[in-house]
Symmetry: D2
Subunit: 133 residues, 4 copies
């Protein structure tokens, strides 16, 4: 499986920050969430949420914060998606502020049947595209 990374840029907004003057730790998950949605949209040519009864739900999230970033900073968010089972995708994130590597982490999303709230195989189209990605 080859991996292809996907990158987008976004600016730190005042609501991402807290009284310490830097991005609040949980605020980086906004960039993770946007990254996941942007990637799926780019891969599938249509927006999340997935159609039908299939939803992606987050079962794990992690982030390490190496350096602070501040309001107005233009961040570069690199996403490396990884199919870790027939049912789960791990989205790996690395965030840069210019040349500085400021945050690394991931979220794992599992495909569920939203009516029964049980794990199901990911739609074939997504698995195929992520295998090729």
């Amino acid at each position: 499986m080859m991996k292809k990374s996907f990158t987008f840029k976004d600016r730190v907004r005042i609501y991402d920050t807290d009284a310490q003057g830097v991005v609040h730790y949980a605020g980086y998950y906004r960039f993770f969430t946007d990254g996941t949605e942007n990637l799926l949209k780019s891969l599938l040519g249509k927006g999340y949420p997935l159609k039908g009864n299939t939803w992606l739900v987050v079962v794990e999230s992690k982030a390490k914060y190496m350096r602070p970033s501040r309001m107005g900073d233009l961040l570069s968010v690199r996403i490396d998606p990884e199919l870790i089972s027939e049912k789960a995708i791990r989205f790996n994130f690395n965030i840069y502020n210019g040349a500085k590597h400021i945050c690394t982490g991931y979220i794992i999303q599992v495909s569920i049947d939203k009516n029964r709230w049980v794990a199901v195989d990911l739609p074939r189209e997504i698995r195929r595209k992520l295998d090729r990605a």
Copy 2:
């Protein structure tokens, strides 16, 4: 119609603040939302959301910010509910930091049938209790 005010206290958390070192303007709506839920729970003896197909949805929100507040401040939130029609409640808010009046505002909530997303009369129990309140 007599009015009875309802008050609760809550502390400013770091995620309520932004890089200006004070509570973010939209952060005060967290206190408004909590106040509405606390009041309904207190009036009805059970938690929001309303049962059945009836939801309350916000159709208007407003706040004026007279003074800043900071992380760790213990705020006092006074709520004066007002039945403005058979279908709508206006929740008036005044927030104090000790003796200082720091914020005033309101949200208007309308009762809807969640399946048809159209306004319907508020449940009789709520109207009755707010009339007496």
Copy 3:
């Protein structure tokens, strides 16, 4: 004073929504905040925050919600800035989901000296550009 409106587009993200399936009322203020920052950046050719000791702080916010919007909707946010005194700007907002007018509101921001936390005249450059805007 002629007014010139400024428009940007943004997509509703999952974190903008709540369990009612639509954008949370306070979530629209994210679009208001982004609009203000985008407009100032466009007018001034540089990012907010203002340099030096001058900050803009929000003293009033209001929104009316005419129709709901949902995850994935591409919203069009129109901003009409209005200089209401030497110290204050009112940013008027109208949000559209395609042809549907879903939200209208404003925020008022006042220029302060951040060290003394008192109102001061807006930087001349901003007043001049908003007068022409």
Copy 4:
């Protein structure tokens, strides 16, 4: 080192949820943040932030989500603090919805000198109380 756990209860609010009808994954970090602040306040008899030039900053966060929770659920949040160096505390979290274990995770906070933004030893009082905790 004996460990003493600290527990508090809080209710899921509408703004914690998203359009999937359950608490948004990043929303659990609100409970982690509140837990840390509540614990420090309980240990030290005074509120966070720490006085003087010492701040606690988050350098790592992680959460696993085993089961969903919904608006109105009363969650029980258990915190086990752990001094992992002279400069860092790991706050371990386990969240329960009644008897159901729904979330486990941690945040690591490091003590810094806020003016130089470099790690420094935790205040002796905190180390002493956490050692005994």
